[in-house]
């Protein structure tokens, strides 16, 4: 069963008198252990699609299934619970909290669950992304590539089924970008998760198991 499936999803934005149809009848699915890369020109609806997959936004029409469960009509609080347990996010500009150490940033998504201590997993994940010697460094003491590794570790702390990455290499140079992609490929297999990423980066397309081309809100 697909870990995430979108059926006939339409997303319209109302700005003033104008209606923008950002997604038009999109069907999309992703499986565990698979890296799907979404490409397309700017404004084609890539981020909008990724937000739907990540349960950050709800479709105007169509259905979203998470592990076979229809979550289309979930309330914001119910969606929050799903994101908390099933989904990990990596953003283009990392979005780490500046006052927290690398380890604390990784623990952040589970910080409010005082019943489980994810400290050991956080340390383990940081070791696995090659930051075993940077555990107590703050973001401003880390390079861009190191920050993105912290962000990847953070995305995995809750043992998600899906990892979503919006232009994860967008702010990194070629070499660093490549190491991040290798990291993601390895983690995809180790953790048996679906990775859905959005990119302009030709290099990144090379690492994908499957490429989805989006133009004007339509999958080609």
């Amino acid at each position: 069963m697909s870990v995430i499936a979108l059926n006939d999803v339409v997303k319209r934005y109302q700005t003033g008198h104008e209606t923008v149809e950002a997604l038009k009848d999109v069907d999309f699915r992703a499986e565990r252990g698979e890296m799907v890369t979404i490409t397309g020109p700017s404004g084609s609806g890539k981020s909008t699609l990724l937000n739907m997959i990540g349960l950050l936004d709800t479709p105007t029409e169509g259905h979203i299934r998470l592990d076979g469960r229809d979550v289309t009509d979930f309330t914001e609080d119910e969606l929050t619970e799903e994101r908390r347990s099933e989904i990990g996010f990596v953003f283009q500009d990392f979005h780490l909290l500046p006052m927290l150490t690398a380890t604390e940033n990784v623990e952040l998504p589970t910080m409010w669950d005082t019943s489980v201590d994810r400290h050991d997993r956080a340390v383990d994940l940081l070791h696995r992304v090659g930051l075993g010697d940077r555990l107590d460094h703050r973001p401003d003491q880390l390079s861009g590539g190191q920050r993105q590794r912290v962000a990847i570790a953070r995305a995995l702390i809750n043992e998600p089924d899906i990892l979503l990455a919006d232009e994860p290499t967008g702010n990194l140079d070629q070499d660093t970008g490549r190491t991040i992609l290798e990291e993601l490929t390895r983690l995809k297999e180790d953790e048996n998760i679906a990775i859905v990423s959005v990119t302009h980066d030709e290099q990144m397309v090379g690492y994908a198991d499957r490429v989805v081309q989006l133009i004007d809100g339509e999958i080609q």
Binding site: N51, G54, L56, D57, E76, D77, T80, E81, R83, R84, S85, I87, G88, F89, F91, H95, L97, P98, M99, L100, L108, P109, M111, W112, T114, R154, A155, N158
Partner: protein, 387 residues
């Protein structure tokens, strides 16, 4: 970091504390408003207490006294011996001290002169406390003199004073700051015999247990002596004065004053909470993306809300604590000056304003944090992340 470890079990508090640490100057400035607000509330409240204590102690022992003089409609001048006996009967088991009054000039050996009022009575000890010598139960011979007057004229215990052509020895020096009368000119207390050639007493002083007893006895005496005539007017045989009215007036004035001072203090805290509202709003808008990330990775709305409210509460607590400490210093100084006893500030009567100030600070801060917290918690993560 001790506090951080302590807060580990309370993630919202932990995050709030870290957030405040990010911009210390802003945190300090936001708290400063609260500091000033708390100082206003606490020190104005304490000032009220200090002034009230001062006023009450100035009023001194007078509140348990009833003073009787000849009434408006009396047929005699002064209070007659018969009336005094009747007062004794009606008033019961209290000290009733009839007295004559007069005025004279006392001169020292080197020719310096002081005007004093003269009181002739027997039970000196009921009305006068002495700072030196004795205040006799029955003043038969000798006199008492206010100690400040004695000081000025260089008169000591045992020195002779001439009054009405007779010589008296000074037996005791009266403490100068007794009641209202103490402030003005000095008093010379002589035996009743010195003025017993007069027909009637000038006044009678009744000394009771306390203010309530004085009020009660005054009422009984008024009932007894001042009968209502058939046309509804009161036939005032004796004028009977107690000081409960004065005390009450002072109390109600003090309450008004205290409310006014607290009002001023509260206004400054309201201003302070507007400052906190502004700072919290600014910092949540600045951190919009960050809060969006929190929400995206599954932090619940309630958790974000709590985090920001606790941030506001911490601001209030930091400012409140500083304000309380400064207010204690101000209070210590105030009571040292007004009452000569600095530690009165720790008595509940005044210490409670420190508590009020602190609670008000936290309350006002949390209320100010409500809107920014609600706004941040309900911001849709997609929008927040788009910037």
């Amino acid at each position: 970091m001790g506090i951080t470890e302590l807060l580990w079990r309370f993630p919202s508090a932990q995050m709030a504390w870290r957030n405040l640490g990010r911009n210390r100057i802003r945190t300090a400035l936001a708290s400063l408003g609260i500091v000033i607000g708390v100082i206003s509330i606490a020190s104005l409240g304490i000032t009220g207490v200090a002034i009230q204590q001062q006023a009450t102690s100035d009023l001194g022992s007078l509140t348990n006294e009833v003073t009787i003089t000849s009434g408006e409609d009396s047929t005699t001048a002064g209070v007659t011996a018969d009336q005094v006996d009747e007062v004794r009967n009606v008033a019961g088991n209290v000290d009733v001290v009839p007295q004559y009054s007069d005025a004279t000039t006392i001169s020292s050996r080197n020719g310096q002169e002081e005007n004093v009022s003269v009181i002739a009575l027997t039970q000196a000890n009921v009305l006068y406390d002495v700072s030196a010598g004795e205040s006799p139960e029955r003043l038969q011979s000798g006199v008492l003199l206010t100690d400040s007057t004695a000081n000025q004229l260089g008169i000591e215990i045992g020195d002779p004073i001439e009054y009405n052509g007779q010589m008296y020895r000074v037996r005791g020096l009266i403490e100068s700051d007794q009641g209202f009368g103490g402030g003005g000119r000095g008093q010379l207390v002589v035996p009743e015999s010195a003025l017993s050639d007069r027909d009637n007493y000038d006044s009678v002083t009744i000394v009771t247990e306390d203010g309530d007893a004085a009020t009660e006895i005054a009422a009984i005496l008024r009932d007894h002596f001042n009968e209502e005539t058939h046309n509804g007017e009161v036939d005032e045989e004796l004028s009977i004065t107690d000081y409960s009215d004065v005390q009450e007036n002072i109390n109600s004035f003090m309450n008004t004053l205290r409310l006014a001072l607290l009002g001023i203090g509260s206004i400054s805290l309201v201003v302070a909470s507007v400052a906190i509202l502004n700072v919290m709003l600014m910092s949540t808008i600045e951190r919009r993306g960050e809060i969006g990330v929190l929400r995206a990775v599954g932090i619940r709305r309630g958790e974000v809300l709590r985090m920001i409210l606790i941030e506001a509460a911490f601001l209030g607590a930091i400012g409140g604590l500083a304000g309380v400490l400064i207010s204690i210093v101000i209070g210590l100084a105030l009571f040292q000056v007004l009452a000569g006893d600095a530690v009165i500030v720790f008595e509940w009567e005044s210490a409670r304003y420190l508590v009020y100030g602190f609670l008000f600070a936290i309350g006002a801060s949390v209320v100010s944090g409500l809107y920014p917290a609600w706004k941040a918690a309900n911001d849709r993560p997609v929008e927040a992340l788009r910037g």
